[in-house]
């Protein structure tokens, strides 16, 4: 009786184990087949979005390889280290692209990709992800309206500091009917990113090693 019970348990356990192994190997096999394609997709999609704000013919280095990590900074708004993509032409700085976070959107964080030319002008801004209201706040997407493209060519001097606001607050940037908080949050985040670039422009085109030497992580923590 009891040996029969143990036998049954063992068979059931063995069957479960067998199906577990079968399922795992199936997923593993498909993972192997699709891995390269998925990696390539992610890279291509990243490069595509970078190229919408840094023209592909303006630089000739490998944008996805030429990156450094910079520590958390309140002007960037990100909660983790930020990756800086460095566009160079014949080793001369052309532009940097990095993502920033606007923490004060209408419903949570808005993630933004910004590119700034070496001379401090904005090359382009795009919203990567957001949770703003469909139909109102989502006009910040390039696919829905050209609002986000109006940042191109702007800099800390153009317009002057007082006017880096939405029109309702006395600035030059449009708000949307029924949605002021969303554009206001983005204008603020982009403005801060320009200050970050002004303060760090020399560091941002360095390699990771030189950057870490000039900007030791401990020092940054004390500053914060």
């Amino acid at each position: 009786m009891s040996s029969n019970l143990i036998r049954n348990m063992l068979i059931s356990a063995g069957l479960l184990g067998f199906f577990g192994a079968l399922g795992t190997s199936m997923v593993l096999g498909i993972h192997q087949v699709t891995k390269e394609k998925i990696d390539a997709n992610i890279k291509a999609s990243l490069l595509k979005s970078l190229n919408t704000i840094i023209p592909a013919d303006s630089y000739n280095n490998d944008l996805l390889q030429s990156t450094i990590q910079v520590p958390v900074d309140s002007q960037l708004g990100n909660k983790v280290a930020t990756t800086i993509y460095q566009a160079k032409r014949d080793d001369k700085p052309v532009a940097v692209a990095f993502d920033i976070t606007a923490p004060d959107g209408y419903s949570g964080d808005i993630n933004i990709l910004i590119a700034i030319r070496a001379n401090g002008d904005i090359s382009g801004v795009r919203v990567i992800s957001h949770k703003e209201t469909p139909g109102l706040g989502d006009k910040i997407e390039a696919a829905r309206s050209d609002w986000i493209t109006k940042f191109s060519g702007k800099s800390l001097k153009n317009p002057e500091e007082k006017q880096w606001k939405v029109k309702k607050d006395g600035g030059i940037f449009d708000q949307f009917t029924g949605a002021t908080i969303t554009p206001r949050a983005i204008v603020k985040a982009v403005h801060k990113a320009l200050f970050y670039y002004q303060d760090n422009r020399k560091l941002m085109f360095l390699g990771q090693k030189e950057y870490d030497m000039l900007n030791p992580p401990t020092l940054v923590q004390q500053e914060n």
């Binding site: 577990g20 997923v27 087949v33 998925i38 139909g135």
Partner: protein
């Protein structure tokens, strides 16, 4: 478990059950979470529907194959395992070959695993039938689910954005851009239809329509019966 199918697998009734009489959404009310979340455009709905069909086919077929090996006491964990493996594979394949659609559907692809319609078919049909009827049942249930998704998606997209088949290129390639139908240029949009409450209302209307059609048919049937009876008694 060992209860074998009738000698002739009956495909007609399976079709009717899957598409209408026992529709996963309209009758069984299963898989509503992904249904309501992703049905904001036709293309999103179609994407999730096709992924669900794929998972249903794989899971029903595999479960039917192993139905005589798996003991009743461990069948549920095994079913769950198979469904999870099928969903993960589908997700990886979509990530590799339908990258942009994958990005839009995002979390709802892995969430197919929680679609009760799939384990319900495994338990109620595939574990009792041979492979071909099981495959066919998976296909019909999946199509039934997809049809409701697409109808709801069309309603919400039409009312909410005034278009149909927007972003068709995500699924059918660049050439499909022309498939997008814009009904009103400069349409302001109807926010309610796009937001989740719109999904619930849309589903409510579809349910009401189905019940109304069923009722009409029952009445017709009853009248036909009555007529036949009176004809009998007079003759």
């Amino acid at each position: 478990m060992a209860e074998e199918i009738p000698a002739q697998p009956v495909y007609g009734p399976i079709t009717k059950e899957g598409l209408w009489n026992n529709n996963a959404v309209l009758v069984q009310m299963l898989g509503l979470c992904p249904l309501l979340a992703v049905s904001n455009t036709v293309i999103n709905a179609l994407g999730l529907g096709l992924a669900t069909i794929a998972v249903l086919l794989i899971s029903n077929a595999s479960i039917s194959i192993i139905r005589n090996i798996v003991r009743p006491e461990i069948r549920l964990p095994v079913f769950v395992l198979i469904i999870a493996a099928a969903v993960t594979s589908t997700e990886l394949i979509m990530h590799a070959w339908f990258f942009e659609l994958y990005q839009i559907l995002g979390i709802f692809i892995p969430l197919i695993v929680t679609n009760c319609a799939i384990i319900a078919r495994a338990e109620a049909f595939a574990s009792k039938n041979t492979i071909l009827p099981s495959l066919y049942d998976g296909l019909m249930m999946g199509i039934g689910f997809t049809l409701v998704l697409v109808v709801l998606g069309a309603m919400r997209e039409f009312l909410g954005s005034g278009t149909l088949l927007a972003q068709a290129e995500l699924m059918f390639g660049e050439g499909a851009k022309a498939m997008t139908i814009t009904f009103f240029e400069d349409y302001k949009g109807f926010l309610l239809a796009i937001l989740p409450p719109g999904a619930f209302m849309g589903l409510g209307f579809i349910l009401a329509a189905k019940n109304w059609i069923d009722k009409k048919q029952r009445e017709k049937q009853r009248q036909a019966n009555l007529l036949a009876k009176t004809a009998d008694s007079t003759s």
